[in-house]
Amino acid sequence: MNPSIDSKREWPLYEIFIRARGGLDHKHVGSLHACDARMAIEHARDLYTRRQEGVSIWAVRSVDITASDPQDADSLFEPARDKIYRHPTFYDIPEAVKTL
């Protein structure tokens, strides 16, 4: 490894969220390096909206995201598996209703 590259001096990582159109929610599109929030927005504009992909950008420092631990998946997500009654599938929907 090149000793001149000091990983501690790299720009922080930002997670980028783009809203494709008014009314939709912001979706995660990727991450990039920037030295501050404003630069993150500008980089995101150049990287992720070149082809009119969006109308709004959110940038969040990756370190500020608290993630669930994959090892906890058993206790977090497994218990929902056998509770099918939580799905709203036990209602009779009139045939005339198309868009529900």
Partner: protein, 248 residues
């Protein structure tokens, strides 16, 4: 043919600057900036296409924008000398960019109400792009100017070196006066007031000193260029001159 020369001045500014910025592709300090500079370069080439195509129509000899770009000589190019200056380090490119972005923005805002409808439409489109260019370049200038001792000293030195080239931007000659009288172009004195205000604001935020005015002798906009333009044209025009009409 005054209008033709005026439109060439605008188009050549965008073309030469776009070509210069394109030299950064693959060489910028980080990947994100590589794309940032390439986007600006492409915006400028896009502006140049519209302007040079219009110049071709005014000229009336059936030349396309490509022919005008690739088959004119050094002294037929009418861009201001500032935009042909070498990229230098990233900081010097940013300084050049701030100086010219602020100029283009003030100019395009006024050209958007030009009596020449075609020019007004091109300016109205370009003004949105240019507003972003200035946002990008000035935020970098603030970061570098108000950054470390090293970055501050380097961008201040670049500013001192490039500053004399800004004189030409506002030096009103017969062509500029004629365009202003026909309400095709704004008075350069008015553009200068707006430019100066923007530059003072960004320099203050970047903790940089505005250099003193110095005498100046290049007039690229009249075809009297620095030695650098020749190298740019040699690279840009080589393919079309070696293989006229080549397409891909």
């Amino acid at each position: 043919m005054s209008a033709l020369r005026y439109v060439l001045r605008l188009g050549d500014l965008s073309l030469v600057l776009g070509q210069r910025l394109g030299e950064w592709i693959g060489h910028a300090p980080v990947l994100e900036e590589d794309l940032g500079l390439a986007n600006i370069a492409l915006d400028l080439i896009g502006q140049a296409r519209l302007l040079l195509a219009y110049a071709g129509e005014i000229e009336g000899r059936g030349r396309s924008e490509d022919e005008i770009a690739f088959f004119r000589q050094h002294s037929e190019y009418l861009n201001p000398t500032l935009v042909e200056q070498p990229n230098g380090d990233f900081g010097e490119t940013i300084v050049r960019q701030v100086l010219i972005d602020a100029f283009q923005l003030e100019l395009y805002e006024r050209l958007a109400v030009s009596s020449d409808e075609r020019l007004a439409a091109i300016a109205a489109k370009a003004v949105k792009e240019t507003r972003y260019h200035l946002r990008y370049s000035s935020s970098w200038l603030v970061r570098l100017g108000d950054g470390t001792q090293e970055s501050h000293a380097r961008v201040q030195a670049s500013l001192d070196r490039l500053w004399p080239f800004t004189v030409e931007l506002f030096e009103e000659d017969d062509l500029d006066r004629e365009m202003a009288e026909q309400s095709i172009a704004p008075r350069l004195a008015d553009v200068r007031v707006g430019w100066s205000k923007r530059i003072d604001e960004v320099l203050a935020e970047a903790t940089l000193d505005r250099p003193r005015e110095r005498p100046y002798s290049w007039f690229g906009k009249r075809g009297q260029h620095s030695e650098h333009l020749g190298y740019i044209l040699a690279e840009m025009q080589h393919l079309q001159r070696a293989y006229p009409g080549a397409r891909w």
